[in-house]
Symmetry: C2
Subunit: 396 residues, 2 copies
């Protein structure tokens, strides 16, 4: 066998053992050997390497069958870290995320709404370096950066195609952050990374295919199949806000008529309300409905029906096992939650699909994008073999 | 190494070599050894087995680099066959499908609309036996049966949950056919298998993710990702006909209001037309529009807008590279094709998605379901190693 092939197998075996322990821990050395078909000697060698470099620890547990103690292996969740970044109009939140999806350090960076992109990205790069340094994180354990932001994102190119909220168009993100930090960087739409977080460790943990629906400044969704984001051809799958529900309906900002989001986006609801009364925001609109004002009830009842329609339509298209709801409109007003709980399944979901999925609410709320971005970076750049190589070269 | 493990590796290597030749043919023995990492001796042994049993043949080709002739291997498409079955209200078509998706034998079986399911399934089992015998097909080369029918299908259980067209409810299909023919049987919705045929060898060949949309007695769609049907939790993904476009709209047969199919299903259009004039079918309705009758134009213009909306909405949800259209309404009337060609992309598709996909028409038309069902059976039951074992035992 060639030296090159030997290296390849060695690297592959390391990753296999690490992933196996990660996903099925606690596991014993004997189980690893049995499941992988590797020899006990090979398994021991790899486990010792991983153990020596702090990638895992041993725990003693009673084995159920014989009652005596046995040694099991468990991955150390702090042994692989990534940086998750959430970008918004007025600020950026960065966090260090571990293998279990826990945020173990956080740093806020202010941003002016009109700030040029390179100024913002420069600040983020500096902020990440400070976050790592001041948090005392081992730089060699950080596998990469993930960035989540609103808009149409070219995931492969690490670029914002269009982000109306940030005012960015054709803006490179990954190249600049990579150059300034030396860390590989992945970029994605904020709903997509949020769905990854909820699917992996949040409200949909254990799901095989879940969809997150976000009701905010627009309406969007993201489907995860077996742990992977379903992106489609240009990373735009799930843009339910721009599906047309009425070809003769009102004009959407996209230029088409009757897009779903013209019925439920926050701005659309407020615009309708303000034709009648100058409400300051959603809170006041909901208050008006509670006060028995008919015009507010009309607007919100229609919006709630369309929220239920959105859930039902998503179920028809994706046939998921879990629907995760997020966004102010569905999370903050009890009347919306009640409406969904009481009416959605029975009146707006196609009969054969009733009971095939559950409706849950985001578990991570404000940290969802940071966690998801961090997990995105881990899944894209986690190559345990090269981490070990690097550490060995550095004689950790 | 245990005898059991040796057998396992032997079987796995056979399948690897067969799939490699199938997907990349023509390939040389040296290429197989290089790509798989197997020794030349192992490759030769497996290739000789496959060759001896007629699974492949050799072809001579000039190699571009040196100009001399070299021997390449090519899979014999007739070496693996399956039976595809298309079930409809008044008849069943069965066909023998080869590895290239070609129909190499066909047989029609009449059916009474009210016929009980076991009578129909009995006839199909007999018909398949006759088809195989009279066509002179080698029984040992047939890996299984695939059945495509309209309705909600429990793919895992091989059962029709509900097929309104056939009048079947909770009807076992696979168990009976398996018992009567001895062949493993897979069952699926007709649009799903049709999309598999078009994606693999038809109008969307070469696509990574394509959606087939069928406009017929209902409206439905089927997404294929990298050659696999996306089924969802209960094999109902893609039921766009029951997405709601108007929560206050007309009552659908499903009990909800404003389902998309109430705007474009053939029956819905005819029902609307017959309130004005007793037309015999779609042809007459289109003729009325051509004659300048305003009421017919109103009904069909609205239907065409909703066809375009359906395509645009599918693009938003699935972000495919190819949309395949099928069904009488879109295939048989030039005015519909023209409308789609002229208006769909520019007026009904969200701007960022324009040009990210192409719109094509079904390449297989009436054979699509047979071919797709046959391919489904091949993908589910093709285990080249056990075919060889069986042939060796039978000393072919």
């Amino acid at each position: 066998m060639q030296k090159h092939d030997q290296d390849f197998i060695k690297r592959k075996n390391r990753t296999t053992v690490f992933e196996l322990i990660r996903k099925h821990s606690p596991v014993s050395r004997a189980e690893i050997a049995r499941w992988t078909g590797m020899s006990p000697t090979t398994v021991s060698r790899i486990v010792n390497e991983l153990y020596h470099l702090d990638f895992m620890h041993e725990i003693e547990q009673e084995t159920t069958s014989v009652g005596r103690k046995a040694v099991f292996l468990q991955v150390n969740p702090k042994s692989v870290l990534s940086v998750g970044v959430e970008m918004d109009k007025t600020g950026v939140r960065t966090g260090v995320v571990d293998l279990d999806g826990k945020v173990v350090g956080i740093r806020y960076i202010a941003r002016q709404p009109e700030e040029p992109s390179d100024a913002t990205l420069g600040k983020i790069a500096d902020g990440i370096q400070t976050l790592i340094r001041e948090g005392g994180f081992d730089r060699r354990r950080i596998v990469g950066i993930g960035v989540g932001l609103p808009g149409i994102i070219d995931h492969d190119g690490g670029r914002a195609v269009l982000s109306a909220q940030l005012g960015w168009k054709s803006t490179d993100i990954a190249p600049l952050l990579q150059e300034r930090t030396g860390l590989p960087t992945a970029v994605d739409n904020e709903l997509k990374v949020k769905s990854l977080a909820e699917h992996t460790y949040g409200a949909a943990a254990g799901s095989k295919r879940s969809v997150l629906i976000g009701f905010g400044s627009g309406v969007g969704s993201s489907l995860i199949i077996d742990g992977d984001i379903y992106r489609g051809e240009s990373n735009s799958a799930g843009e339910i806000g721009h599906t047309i529900v009425d070809p003769g309906g009102s004009l959407c900002e996209c230029g088409k008529r009757g897009c779903l989001q013209t019925y439920i986006a926050e701005a659309a609801l407020l615009e309708k309300a303000r034709k009648i009364k100058p409400v300051s925001g959603l809170d006041e609109l909901f208050q008006a409905r509670r006060n028995g004002e008919g015009w507010a009830a009309d607007i919100l009842d229609r919006a709630m029906a369309f929220i239920a329609v959105t859930i039902g339509n998503i179920a028809c298209m994706y046939n998921p096992d879990t629907v995760i709801l997020t966004g102010k409109l569905v999370e903050q007003y009890p009347e919306v939650k009640d409406f969904i709980a009481e009416k959605c399944m029975s009146e707006f979901v196609w009969e054969p699909l009733r009971g095939t999925f559950r409706i849950v609410y985001s578990a991570f709320e404000q940290d969802g994008v940071i966690i998801g971005s961090g997990l995105l970076a881990q899944s894209r750049f986690l190559d345990i073999a090269s981490q070990i190589d690097q550490m060995e070269q550095n004689q950790i």
